[in-house]
């Protein structure tokens, strides 16, 4: 980093670099609640997002590229999420997995729940559902990978909150569309 967020790289270099980032999304699962179980289900044999290069073996935030916030974020937990996000090295991506981390979900009227993780950290992909099916997470990952392949790191670093992807916002969720 340092250079890459300030200089627009030439196209071939950018392609290779983006390709590397796209297929090497070491994933730090911030498993908070129910959705964490579906996250694990998505990583195991049947759904298996490891084949997309999303490696769930990053144990700490320092080695991670992708933060998946899955589950209800409470006000007590929010500083930890913020802190972990800040401990991750750039470039980093965030998937908000499930209604709770999107907006508070079924606990929208609770006194202790943060209504959406995007209040504290920028989110790249919102995956709706309570909990979303593993296929939805795969869909979100593929959407994120498509975006990474075409993105410019300079633009991204300039405005991190620009234009997040919301799955199923304009079309019905394409279940099982994972290739």
């Amino acid at each position: 980093m340092g250079l890459m967020d300030q200089v627009e790289l030439p196209q071939p270099v950018k392609y290779v670099f983006n390709w590397g980032r796209k297929y090497s999304l070491w994933c730090f699962n911030f498993g908070l609640a129910c959705c964490a179980i579906e996250f694990i289900a998505a990583s195991t044999s049947r759904h298996d997002f490891i084949r997309h290069g999303v490696i769930p073996f990053a144990h700490g935030p320092r080695q991670a590229d992708l933060l998946v916030v899955s589950g209800t974020l409470t006000d007590k937990m929010a500083p930890a999420v913020k802190r972990l996000y800040e401990e991750m090295p750039e470039p980093k991506y965030v998937i908000s997995f499930g209604s709770c981390s999107n907006c508070g979900g079924p606990y929208w009227d609770s006194y202790s729940v943060t209504k959406g993780v995007d209040q504290i950290i920028p989110v790249d992909v919102y995956v709706p559902g309570c909990p979303p099916r593993p296929e939805a997470l795969l869909d979100g990952i593929i959407a994120l990978q498509d975006r990474i392949q075409n993105e410019s790191l300079k633009d991204r670093m300039a405005d991190r909150r620009k234009d997040p992807i919301t799955l199923g916002a304009d079309a019905p969720l394409a279940l099982g569309s994972s290739s």
């Binding site: 670099f17 390709w19 980032r21 297929y23 044999s45 490891i50 144990h59 080695q63 470039p91």
Partner: protein
Amino acid sequence: MMASLTHATTTVAQTVSLFDGFDGFVLPVILKLVFVLAAFFVLPLVGGYLEHKVMGRMQHRRGPVEAGPFGSLQLVADGIKFIQKEDLIPSAADRWVFAIAPGVALVPAMLVFLVIPFGPGVFALDFELGLFYALAAISVSVLGVLMGGWASANKFSLIGGLRAGAQLVAYELPLIIAAITVAVQAGTLSLVGIVESQATFQLFGTGINVWFVFPQIVGFAIFFVAAMAELSRPPFDMPIGDSELVFGYMTEYTGIKYAMYMLTEYAGMISMSALMVVLYLGGWQLLPGVPLPGCEAGGGLFDCSPTGIALGVAITIAKIMALVFLMVWARVAYPRLREDQLQRVCWLVLVPLSLANLAVVTIAKVVF
């Protein structure tokens, strides 16, 4: 170093190097460096890919699929990603020590590749003390681990570093004793010489040509276990045990420095496996005592046509990967030991066993 290089080449007797055909001095050196670097960077990637795929198959998954054909470029993608990552140094860390620690771990792992014979004549250096050199180089890596653990200024890192230090120093002992046992059996410390002696080694009194793994099955087991512990591979991965220490001494490392630690681990897997292949599994021989196709003279060990050389290299790498497969299998199948159990295994089982093995082999060597 120069003196030792020239010195080593003068002392080695009849070995013919692949690079001797070239005139001059600079070209072979460059070729050798390129060869060592290529082996150092490519083979660990192959090993890592193998690990991904084998683990996947054993767990009813497919492993990486999307990056490159059959996911073969997964580790390349990882590498490209790591060089883009931000280089974070914790504010409380000891900056210099933190920065050079991965290098201290990596360079010895690279230096081991200098002496490993990958095929008939395919080695950078046939050193009279090759085995000893490899073990000495491996033993230096622990410094990098300790430095990283201490310099990170993180409790998990410190505990991980301390565990790694204790583990690596302890398991060096059975490792070295087991290796020395082979040297006693072969009568030489040169890795090429050990391969050579396996070509003619016969089981006592039977006349059957075997590799050292048969008389020394105990030594092989000890070496294998100790090698896995030296590499902090599961089930001996307490220094980086994720459920206890997050990532041990690597907890604070990001980007390229973390990648260097990972490369060290995988290069270590390759070099340890290669050592095992050389010490116990007959190096590049396909069958004991049978010359490779294309290799006629000299017992089929050195005087080879290009086909023979290629075949020899392929056989060595296949054997290395078979051993890597065993290590991956252990990772898939076993939980992690506890730290005191680990030390107990070392001091109460492996060390006495290796000493007994050494005694038995020495006596057998003298008697027969």
